[in-house]
Every structure is written in C-alpha cells, then in structure tokens.
Amino acid sequence: MKERAFITLTNGFKDKLFRLAKRLLVSNEEAEDATQEVLLKLWKNKSKMAEYKNVEAFAVTMTKNYCYDKLKAKETGNLKIVHSNYQDERPSLQRQVEAKDSLDWVGKIMNDLPKQQRMIIQLRDIEQYDNAEIAEMLEINETAVRVALSRGRKKIREELLKKHNYGVV
C-alpha cells in the first residue's frame, strides 16, 4: 500500500481516534501523540492490513490500548495530577467557574466517569458506532456495553440534575 492511499484511508477515522484519545488522556497534545503513534504502528504493519476485518475498529482498539498504557504509566510514574482531574474540594466555587460554560460542564461530568463508561459514551453518543462495533473495539461483550452505556448516561443525568437544582449561575 502506498503512502497516499494509507493516508486517505486513515483520514476517514483519524479524528475519531483523536477524539477517543482526548477523551481518555484529556490533554490535546497527548491525544495528538497517541493518534500519531497508533497510525504509525498501523503503517508499519500495513502488510497485515488485509487480514483485519475492519481496519477502523482495529485502530480504535489500538488507540484504547495505547491510552490505557499511557494512563497506567502516569499512575505509576507519580504524575497523576498532570492533566487529570483535580479533587473537588469546594464544589460551589468550582461549579460557579465551570457553569460559565455549561457545555464544558457536560464535558467535565463525562470525564469524571470511569474509563470504560467514558469510552463507550464517546463511541456511541459522539461517534455513533453501534453496540456490536463498540463491543468488538473494546473487546467486551454487547451486554456489558449496554449496561455501561446506561450507567454512564444515568450518571451524567444525575450530575446534570444536581447542577440544575443548585441553580448555579
């Protein structure tokens, strides 16, 4: 496969990989790096590409694994506070600040979810993959996808309700 063909192929889902990496790693730069790494790995193994049933799904799985490794390295490397979420000690103040942009607030809620729920909501509600595809990408079964999806969405609803009831502006 030629370079150009490869780039055209991957351009179709490159942004999706980037958004997933950003969802997991939060930082823009790290997400860019992750996307590059995954695509390069894919390029190096281009000879095997024909064997993959679905290159896009495979790339998503690779991205997930790459980000997991990164997150693990960060935890053990004592770098936990870099780009992760700071502890919420004074919710009212924080809420006030964040409520300035209510959409950011949704993002914040989402990034507070456990990794798996976060990914599943990302893949389903933002990228609009169906459950079967997500199950394949994340290497879990479809029921687990549906359960995690529902839990994640309910958690978001709960947090949104809280915010609404506090009426912070």
Binding site: E32, T35, L40, L103, I126, E127, L160
Partner: protein, 144 residues
Amino acid sequence: MELSNIEKLLEKYFEGETTISEEKELKVYFTGETVPSHLERYKDLFQYFSNESTITATKDLKIKASRTPKYKWIGVAASIALIAGIFLTRTVDSTEPVDTFEDPEIALQETKKILNMVSQYMNEGKQNLVYLQEFENTKKKFIK
C-alpha cells in the same frame, strides 16, 4: 415530534435501549430551538455531543518510518563493500613466489646453506643460555 414521544425516547435512552437512529432524532430535537423548560437541562448534553463530534486532530500524519529502511540498506551495502574491498586487495598483493634459480640442484644447495646459517646462529645463541640450567638445579633443591 410529540413531546410524550420525546420523553419516552429519553427514558429509553437512559436505559441504553435506543437505536442509533432514535438517538439521532433526540439529537436533532435537542439541538433545535424549541425545547420545553423541564427538558432544557438535556439540551446541553446533546449539544455537547454534537459539538464534540466536530473536533479534529490538527497534526498531519507524518510517515517517517518509510525513510529509515532506505538508510539501513545503504549501511549494509557499505559494510559489504568495505569487507569485500579488504579481501580483494589482499589477494592481489599476495602473489605467488617466483623461482629465482634455474637449476634445482643449486636451489637445494642454496637453501641448505641458508638453513645451516640459521641453525648455526641458533646454536651460538643457545650457548649463552646454559646458565639457565642453574635455575633448574636450584629449583630442584626446594621442589622435589
């Protein structure tokens, strides 16, 4: 779409039981203008989802991997050339010994003469080493 329908869909949505197309309907509805106040809070959610799906990576993919193999082979080629060069020049230098005498008899005599000379010098040199025997004798006194 009817309000009751939307509410039903929302309930299904939170149970994770909506289909992709139903979710699209919800998205369209909530990103629209008219949303009743009790559903207002979900507006952010769907708005956020549709905003997020437009984020794009800024860096372009650079495939640097394709460059390295080329140089790798140049290195291999260069080292092969170098080794081959060393061996080739060596074989050129070491030419076959050329005969210096026409008559084999004379050659034999000359060779003998030279070998004699060598052994003579050897023996002369060895004579000076006789005193080494002393070391051996002394050593024998201690080590039996």
